[in-house]
Each structure stands twice: as C-alpha cells, then as structure tokens.
C-alpha cells in the first residue's frame, strides 16, 4: 500500500491498539480494499469482500426496519472480532483477537470513520 495515502496514519493508529490484527478501509459497494494495515495472517482482500457484504446487508436491514443508518457493527467470533463503522461508501474494518479492549477501540473506530472524506 502507498504510504502517501490519507488513510494510512489512521489505520496505523488503529492497528497499534492492543489485540488489533489489522485495519482496512473498504469500498462498501465494490467490496475491495482501498487501504489496509494488516498483519500477514490477515487475508485483506477476503476480509474486505465479506465484511463489506456484511456491512451492506446490515445497513439494508436497519433501513428496512426503519432504524436509519448503521453507526457501528460488531461480529463476535470464537477467536476475535470484526468491528465496522462507515461513512458514505467507505467502511473501516478492524480485525481483532480476543485480547482487545472493545470500549476504547469502538471510540477510536467511530472517530476514524467520522474523519473519512465525504
């Protein structure tokens, strides 16, 4: 990934948090990686495609239920979590292990999503 990307400082900051295995900025529509800072164990294109699909479905579900937009989405798995927050077509995706401090990470994720360019 290019170090000149405007997303890299935010992604590096997120990935430095304890328990975070990687952070990605993903296009919700296309399901492709725009930028990512991930450990080698994280398959960024695969995570991007599936997480974007999940986020899109969640957004459509919330809209269908009359709840408005999705602010934050978290999937808890046996080995960790996927945390997502978006703005327009961009979604910030975090891949974490089980050691992560969810509260602080959620604040950081929402802040990063809010700072995404419109």
């Amino acid at each position: 990934m290019s170090s000149s990307s405007p997303f890299i400082p935010s992604l590096e900051h997120l990935t430095r948090q304890r328990g975070v295995l990687g952070s990605l900025v993903v296009s919700e529509t296309d399901g492709i990686v725009i930028d990512a800072v991930v450990q080698p164990s994280v398959k960024a294109p695969v995570v991007a495609a599936l997480a974007a699909s999940l986020y899109r479905r969640a957004r459509q579900s919330a809209h269908a239920a009359g709840l408005g937009g999705v602010k934050y989405l978290e999937l808890v798995a046996d080995g960790g979590r996927l945390c997502m927050a978006g703005r327009d077509d961009l979604v910030v995706v975090l891949v974490t292990d089980t050691r992560v401090g969810v509260g602080l990470l959620r604040v950081e994720l929402l802040r990063t999503a809010a700072e995404l360019p419109e």
Binding site: T29, D30, G31, I32, P45, A49, A52, S53, R56
Partner: protein
C-alpha cells in the same frame, strides 16, 4: 437455477460460484468461443453472441496486457450503472478457458473476485486430464461444434 453444461465436470464448480457470488449471468467458454456452460441465459442466440464477444475481448485484452506489461491481464472488470461484468481466464489441466460473469447490487466486485479464485481452483480439481486424441477445433468445424453445444445447453 437456469444452469446448463456441455461437460458434466463443469457443473458443480459453476453452480457453487453462481450461488456464492449471486451472479446474474455466468458463461464458461474456450478461448476460441465454444461454450461449455452457462447460467442465466434464456436464448441460444444470446449465448452465441456473448461467447463471440467474450472471446474477442479476451483475445484483445490478453494481447494488450502482453504489449503493456509483458504478460496478459489477469482479469477485466466493467462497471455499468446497474450491472457489472467480470471477464477472466481460467486455467485447468484440460487447457485454458474464459469465464464471463455479470452481477448486480446483490454482489460486489470483491465477492466475485473472491469466489472466482475458488471457482478456478475447483474447476482445476474437477477437470479430467486432456485426452491425447483431442482435436483442436478448426475453422471448418467451429460452427457445427457451436451448434451442437448450444443444442445441448438449451434442449433440457
């Protein structure tokens, strides 16, 4: 699901791709334009046109890739307003094939690329070895082979 195949070994990998990627249309053909399998088409004439166009686009983009970067492009994506197209080569022990798929908002380019990689792996595993007596399709029997395959696809 409106899926039809000329050769049985193609069916399971293609069916899985269509289900996973939620593709609207899918077409597997030889680089010369002979159809092997299709999903979503209702008329033989549309399959014939799509095969001819896909083979021509694949040949052009392959050569363009060679000219620009010394090797063929891995895939081609065209985004329309409501539907998108993905065209790529699928290598198998039986030889190279061309894969064309069309998808809409129910899927995404990332999902299609992800499941295309799985599709090519499954296709490679399912492909029988190339028979020694397999004859290349020549210009003089191309049309009769194409007619035969189209009849197979749309006669069921």
């Amino acid at each position: 699901m409106s899926l039809a195949v000329v050769e049985r070994w193609v069916e399971a990998p293609l069916r899985r791709f269509v289900e996973d990627a939620q593709a609207v249309l899918a077409l597997l053909l030889t680089p010369s334009g002979q159809v092997l399998a299709q999903h979503g088409f209702t008329r033989a004439v549309d399959v014939m046109s799509a095969c001819a166009l896909a083979a021509a686009i694949h040949a052009s983009s392959t050569e363009l890739g060679r000219q620009l970067q010394g090797r063929p492009f891995a895939g081609l994506h065209h985004a329309g307003r409501r539907r998108q197209l993905f065209l790529a080569r699928a290598d198998t022990p039986r030889g190279p094939y061309v894969f064309l798929t069309v998808f809409d908002q129910a899927s995404s380019l990332g999902l299609v690329q992800l499941y295309y990689d799985e599709f090519t792996a499954r296709l490679g595993d399912a492909a029988p070895p190339k028979a020694n007596d397999t004859t290349e399709i020549l210009a003089e029997n191309f049309e009769s082979e194409l007619d035969r395959n189209l009849k197979l696809l749309f006669s069921r």
